[in-house]
């Protein structure tokens, strides 16, 4: 009763906010500071090139295109057996839902999830990635966006 009259319940709350008034903020000032995503983060998809030979790891088997729930991948390949390479590989990131199924199903590890996530753009064509753009270093994408 006395506690209620003295508004103890309210004072507890006031104490809590006052305490946090002097602690360090936990927020990140986004465009200035950025958090690095975890290695598994599913960002934009990249087409991996073999570092030694400079050829695509992809063998254009088309499994990624088939498994894609939003059907945003188109693949065309040339050559036979081990020589088979993609000549056309398009991902429409305006449709992509970043589920990672294509990366998961790829039998040769030809695709990977980069940690690039800043895909907001005024130009929707920018999101339609072709084979050259897909195999670029993803840090370059950022520059194209900022332009």
């Amino acid at each position: 009763m006395i506690a209620k009259a003295l508004m103890k319940d309210l004072l507890i709350g006031l104490r809590r906010t006052f305490y946090y008034c002097f602690t360090k903020p936990i927020t990140v000032q986004y465009p200035k500071e950025k958090l690095t995503p975890f290695p598994r983060f599913r960002g934009f998809i990249r087409l991996v090139k073999d570092e030694e030979t400079g050829r695509y790891k992809c063998i254009a088997c088309g499994q990624c295109a088939r498994v894609c729930p939003s059907q945003c991948i188109t693949v065309k390949g040339e050559g036979k057996g081990k020589e088979r390479q993609p000549v056309e590989f398009n991902i429409d990131f305006s449709r992509c839902i970043y589920c990672g199924f294509c990366v998961e199903i790829c039998p040769v590890g030809g695709l990977e999830n980069s940690s690039f996530y800043e895909g907001a753009t005024y130009d929707i064509d920018w999101l339609k990635f072709d084979i050259d753009k897909l195999s670029e270093d993803y840090k370059k994408w950022e520059r194209t966006f900022k332009k």
Binding site: K4, L10, I12, G13, R16, P37, F38, R40, V67, C99
Partner: protein
């Protein structure tokens, strides 16, 4: 004019709400007044998305509520009929986007039940852990927005701080923060990364202390109590008849948690309490979810301890092309918001013949008009918050 109003009034009385007749005493207390219609939503700060309520008011007192939904209808069930069993997983993520692992969980369990797939135990523990983390994150977001609706805006950011920790855990293990798509038919996508379990344990240590923060601001606060106690009451019997499930019905004293009642996965091996409070009001539902967060934290801890000791496969041997037998299953799981069930009709092909998703929010929303009848406008907000709806789930 007066005669016409009287006529309208009588018609309205005869029509009643969609669930029953309006209590006439509430309708006109002492003075004769005219009804006042107000459109709450689909764009309104506290309808948690695109819910639209048409309230008819006497002053600020609610006479009748009509709930209009469908603004977020994406045709998930139709889409599912055109996709393979595997491709449906990302669709289920987007039902309750605040607890997507729990949404995946129900679906993969349903397909596994249909195909009789035995899932490795380690995978089961990982799934349960993720689902419980999702429950914590969903309840945190619920508490955040519920408190914000009632005006306590600081709780919002405290809750988000802890939710961020859970999302970080999700990102670390699954690669997605909100839309995890982590579960697979027969297991999970990957094993847990190194150092993950330590982070989980750290979270389990910190979290109960942080709950104290919210308690300081809400638990005994007289304003919070006066806004929630005896508001939007619904009895157990009525609640069940109106389809309430999950925390919403446990706040009315019904001890019914599908994790205990019909244990699935490894819930029967885990030690946790079902949170039941019998206040029947908004405050009781707050208490239920508050306790549930702490219980989920316990479950996560147990899972982490188990997973630390064991290793093994996280994926059962499942054919790449899934062709379940002809038949139908109904798999109900306890999602953060209530009973989530998938009803799959299979015709033996790669794609489900029919996938009906019974979502908790949809069923819980049916009880809203009954709850808020006779209350004030401000209580509608509290009631919506207390049944914890997500429009992605309501409209599917």
């Amino acid at each position: 004019m007066a005669v016409k109003e009287e006529q309208q009034f009588k018609e309205l009385m005869a029509k009643g709400t969609s669930l029953g007749k309006v209590d006439e005493d509430i309708m006109r207390e002492t003075i004769r007044t005219q009804d006042y219609w107000i459109n709450m939503g689909p764009q309104h700060p506290s309808t948690h998305g695109v819910l639209r309520l048409i309230l008819s008011l006497q002053g600020e007192r609610i006479v009748d509520t009509e709930v209009v939904i469908g603004y977020l209808h994406r045709g998930t069930e139709k889409l599912a009929e055109a996709r393979t069993y595997h491709q449906i997983i990302p669709l289920t993520d987007r039902l309750d986007y605040l607890a997507s692992p729990a949404m995946n969980f129900g679906y993969v369990l349903a397909v596994e039940k249909l195909m009789e797939i035995e899932v490795p135990e380690r995978a089961e523990y990982i799934r349960v852990m993720m689902a419980e983390l999702a429950r914590i994150s969903s309840h945190l977001l619920w508490l955040a927005t519920h408190a914000l609706d009632i005006g306590a805006m600081t709780v919002f950011l405290y809750c988000f701080r802890e939710r961020e920790m859970v999302l970080d855990l999700f990102e670390m293990a699954t690669g997605g923060r909100l839309i995890t798509s982590y579960y697979r038919i027969g297991g999970v996508a990957h094993d847990l990364p190194d150092g993950f379990l330590d982070k989980v344990k750290e979270f389990c240590e910190i979290f109960p202390k942080r709950v104290q923060d919210y308690d300081d601001l809400l638990y005994a606060n007289r304003i919070w109590l006066s806004r929630t106690v005896n508001v939007a009451k619904i009895s157990a019997e009525k609640g069940l008849a109106l389809g309430l499930s999950g925390p919403s019905i446990r706040g009315s004293g019904v001890n019914w948690d599908l994790r205990r009642a019909n244990p699935y996965s490894v819930y029967d091996k885990l030690d946790f309490e079902v949170a039941v409070f019998d206040g029947c009001d908004v405050y009781a539902r707050y208490l239920v979810r508050r306790k549930e967060m702490l219980e989920s934290c316990k479950i996560v801890k147990q899972c982490a301890e188990y997973l630390e000791k064991t290793s093994g496969p996280v994926m059962a041997k499942v054919p790449k092309v899934l062709k379940p037998p002809v038949g139908e299953v109904y798999m109900a799981t306890e999602a953060p918001k209530g009973e989530l069930a998938y009803y799959i009709v299979s015709d033996g092909s790669q794609r489900p013949y029919r996938l009906k998703i019974r979502t908790p929010s949809f069923a819980n929303l049916i009880a809203l008009p009954e709850m808020v009848k006779g209350h004030l406008v401000a209580d509608v907000i509290a009631a919506i918050g207390s049944i914890d709806i997500v429009l992605g789930e309501v409209d599917r």
